[in-house]
């Protein structure tokens, strides 16, 4: 699971490995998607244009793209943190649900009594706490009893959804409201919207769900980078992940580190709750996570478990979701399933088949450098 894929094959300049190749892969993915689109009777060029414009063509588009990306950053970081400690956390979905649940419960309990900022100050840690708590049991079972993390986190996803439905329907429901949702938080409780923040800077931005949670997500990414590569704890976590024997030899407690890694992972997943519940909807909805936890797996791996890579991969996925819905708006016959298929192709070509073109590119690069070398002395001779 370590992102050692880059190590395969001959060394290439970094700008090729991290710039040219991903670009080529994305183009290939879009070419195949285009073929599919054409096969189904649409114009690939138009679809392409709509997809890109829909994701990046306006302030509005950027707002939505970044909003979706925020969720994916949180879950991608969550998966990556666990992965560095050698743990495969499939449970980000459930952890995010419970994070949002706890944040909302705290906010609902306090919003009538405390000012908005104070509620936020308590609800945001509650989201992290909820996520961490939901990860704690699988973590403990893994560390102490050796129960396989993959099974327990899958089970805890189902348990989270059952808990959420039950609470929403039986405890948090508003009588007379058929919607499966809690009551709305008091006016003024919620993270500042990007629109408001930009307005304070004198920038006129359209209303989008984008909110301060993006900043938090980026902070988390930077924080995770510092944690993993610049602190003793990070060194310890990665030691455990790469060589459990060496971790034991170094006197690191695998139980403690497993708990820290998975609970940290859950806390990061809880960020989805902050973004969706406190940032956008201001109430608890049944399916506010909407698969972001699972997408996080792909995001983390495509980002090679590195925070910077994860932010970029999250942006890509955010763009696919937003550009995809724009496509569906504009071409009525372009169903949302088509968007899903295109997303699958992108994950396939940009993620799983990321190294497919590498040998070819390496050969071209070798030819190029060879020619350059041959040309240079010739030039001198002349």
């Amino acid at each position: 699971m370590s992102g050692s894929t880059a190590a395969a094959g001959a060394p290439l300049p970094r700008w090729i490995d991290f710039g040219v190749l991903p670009l080529l892969n994305a183009l290939l993915a879009l070419a195949v998607a285009g073929a599919l689109v054409a096969l189904l009777g649409h114009s690939p060029a138009q679809a392409m244009r709509l997809l890109v414009e829909g994701a990046f063509g306006s302030g509005l588009a950027w707002g939505y793209t970044l909003h979706y990306a925020t969720n994916f950053i949180f879950t991608g970081l969550a998966v990556a943190l666990a992965a560095h400690a050698g743990l495969f956390n499939i449970g980000a979905e459930g952890q995010a649900s419970v994070g949002g649940l706890l944040a909302c419960v705290v906010a609902l309990a306090l919003d009538r009594w405390l000012p908005g900022w104070a509620v936020l100050l308590l609800a945001m840690p509650a989201a992290a706490l909820g996520g961490a708590a939901w990860a704690a049991v699988p973590a403990w079972l893994q560390a102490r009893r050796g129960s396989h993390i993959v099974i327990t986190t899958i089970m805890f996803n189902f348990l989270a959804s059952a808990l959420l439905v039950w609470l929403l329907v039986n405890v948090l429901a508003v009588p007379g409201n058929p919607s499966v949702e809690s009551r709305a938080l008091a006016e003024g409780v919620g993270l500042p919207k990007a629109q408001a923040l930009l307005a304070a800077l004198g920038v006129n931005a359209p209303a989008t769900p984008l909110n301060a949670a993006l900043g938090l997500a980026l902070l988390c990414a930077a924080g995770l980078w510092v944690l993993l590569w610049h602190t003793r704890l990070g060194h310890a976590l990665r030691t455990l992940g790469h060589a459990p024997g060496a971790a034991h030899y170094a006197g690191l407690s695998s139980v403690r580190l497993t708990l820290i890694a998975l609970m940290g992972s859950g806390a990061l997943a809880g960020g989805v709750g902050i973004n969706e519940v406190l940032g956008v909807h201001h109430r608890l909805l049944l399916d506010f996570v909407a698969g972001a936890g699972f997408t996080g797996i792909a995001v983390a791996l495509m980002g090679r478990n590195h925070p910077a890579g994860i932010v970029l991969a999250a942006l890509l996925f955010g763009a696919l979701v937003q550009g995809g819905s724009e496509l569906a708006f504009e071409i009525p016959t372009f169903s949302r399933d088509m968007v899903t298929a295109v997303q699958g192709l992108v994950v396939l070509f940009c993620g799983a088949l990321a190294l497919m073109l590498r040998p070819l590119v390496a050969r071209l690069w070798a030819l190029w450098t060879l020619r350059a070398r041959r040309v240079a002395p010739a030039g001198e001779g002349a």
């Binding site: 370590s2 510092v226 610049h230 003793r232 060194h235 060496a246 034991h248 170094a250 006197g251």
Partner: protein, 510 residues
């Protein structure tokens, strides 16, 4: 006749084989020696078809082999016992042996045939193994036998052994040498890579010396000496053996009383161990491997829980006393360093770059901290510098802190681990098999460093299955057999016969 001609092999920027030509007479035992990283394993890997060479040809009995095809090599009768065993831990011995040489789709007949053949080979060569034992549970010495059986089962007429004795006890090594002679009598050609010149002199007919990817010499064994070979390998004169002033043992640093340890099956691995370690003294623990030395070492190092008995660390200056159970981290803080026997699995994180591995266990060192202590931030530049320092002290090659730990050869990995553990002036060093698989030049470096450490007043507990090493380094020798101390003597009172007698004793209370 086996002939490799003009072999070139590059791994990225490393030129591991530079136009090597090697000819081996059929039915002979041919030695291949050289420093760590000289290119011995690479060359043999090419012969066996593991790596395709960049240039060059391989011929066996006049037929050219297809480069990079293990299948072709096996068909031509080549068998190889790899430096790191190529076995599936979860398979039985029989399954491991049969793999790749099965006769039909259904396994049972092959297994039955293999069982007969293995028992026959075992009888012929004294290679006794339980065909139904699970490989992962066997000691290395037996695994080695399995590897050899594997090659013989495939009807190998050419047998390559890559450092076969590195992990063997002296007795096992002797047995192996006897077997090689026996194979030779049967007409098998043997290619033997080793770092132990004594073995080379004892069994080979000819010997080839490699340095930095090239063949520097080939000699008739009868016409050469240990000193000449050592010099050819390292490119300078090498001195091994006892040197320097005798030890001046000081105060007791560690005392253990009545140590016992039982494994998960309830079998006693250690019992009634009393041991004192003093400042300025190297205590060597001798014994056939598997007699409790590893358990003792790991118990003292905090890697195993204390079950019975007590271990105390005396106070010393500003460093406080300690009573076990203590975890390895706390022990390091108390000045107890540990070089593990298994450097691959324990001593390093293979995926880390060298400078990160160089901080393993010592990330709380103030010299590499940065910013407020609560944050636990690490100073990368200091870490790299520290690693570069270690590499310089111990001549780690290449001296590049940014190399991945896995890319260093075993000898250089070992030097790095030792450098790290010696770095912080420990008062007690626990060290297991310090020179296993390490070339002569590196052995010299390591031995010198251990003596220097002792002279600086450190207590050293040295566990080694190499009697030569114990005799060369230890000031006091403890012999273990079946989990007990069966002999203890000063260096000057020790010789191989006495120690050997103690090793054979035992009898253990369950």
């Amino acid at each position: 006749m086996i002939a490799l001609r003009g072999i070139h092999k590059r791994f990225g920027s490393v030129h591991a084989s530079r136009g090597v030509t090697l000819e081996v007479a059929p039915g002979s035992i041919h030695g291949l020696i050289g420093e760590n990283g000289a290119g011995k394993s690479t060359l043999m890997g090419i012969l066996y078809g593991l790596h395709p060479p960049d240039e060059g040809t391989i011929e066996v009995d006049g037929h050219a082999l297809k480069p990079g095809s293990a299948r072709d090599a096996i068909a031509a009768g080549i068998g190889m016992v790899h430096q790191h065993f190529m076995l599936v831990d979860r398979f039985t011995v029989l399954e491991n042996i049969v793999l790749g040489a099965e006769q039909g789709f259904v396994l049972a007949p092959s297994l039955a045939a293999a069982r007969r053949e293995v028992l026959r080979l075992a009888a012929e060569f004294g290679l006794e193994v339980d065909p139904d034992a699970v490989a992962g549970e066997l000691p290395v010495g037996v695994l080695q036998r399995v590897e050899i059986l594997k090659a013989l089962y495939r009807g190998a007429r050419v047998l390559i052994l890559d450092e076969p004795t590195g992990v063997l006890t002296p007795q096992e090594a002797d047995q192996l040498m006897r077997m090689l002679r026996q194979l030779k009598r049967r007409g098998t050609t043997v290619l033997l890579i080793t770092h132990k010149l004594r073995e080379v002199l004892a069994v080979t007919d000819r010997v080839t010396v490699m340095r930095a990817g090239e063949v520097v010499a080939t000699r008739e064994t009868a016409a050469t000496t240990e000193a000449e070979l050592a010099e050819l390998m390292v490119g300078r004169k090498v001195r091994l053996g006892r040197e320097g002033p005798p030890a001046q043992p000081g105060a007791v640093v560690l005392s253990a009383r009545g140590l016992g340890w039982r494994d998960a099956q309830g079998v006693a691995r250690l019992s009634g161990i009393d041991l004192d370690l003093r400042q300025g003294e190297i205590v060597g623990v001798a014994g056939v491997s598997g007699n409790g030395q590893s358990e003792l070492l790991e118990l003292l190092a905090g890697l195993r829980p204390l079950q019975s008995g007590e271990i105390r660390l005396a106070a010393d200056g500003e460093r406080p006393a300690g009573v076990w159970p203590l975890d390895p981290h706390r022990l390091r803080q108390l000045g107890v360093a540990h070089v593990p026997e298994d450097r691959h699995r324990l001593g390093l994180v293979l995926d880390f770059e060298a400078w990160e591995s160089a901080a393993l266990g010592y990330t709380d060192d103030a010299a590499i901290a940065r910013g407020p202590a609560v944050l636990g931030l690490l100073d990368h530049r200091a870490m790299r510098a520290q690693c570069a320092g270690m590499m310089a002290d111990f001549d780690v090659r290449p001296p590049d802190p940014a190399w991945r730990s896995a890319k260093f050869s075993g000898g250089n990995q070992q030097k790095l681990v030792i450098a790290r553990e010696l770095r912080r002036a420990p008062r007690l060093l626990l060290i297991g098999q310090p020179t296993r698989g390490v070339d002569i030049g590196a052995i010299e470096t390591i031995h010198r460093a251990l003596r220097r450490l002792r002279d600086a007043g450190c207590a050293v507990l040295l566990v080694s299955t190499e009697l030569d090493e114990i005799l060369a380094l230890a000031d006091r020798i403890v012999v273990m057999s079946q989990g007990r101390i069966t002999g203890e003597m000063a260096r000057d009172a020790a010789d191989e016969v006495t120690i050997g007698r103690c090793m054979g004793q035992g009898g253990i209370a369950a």
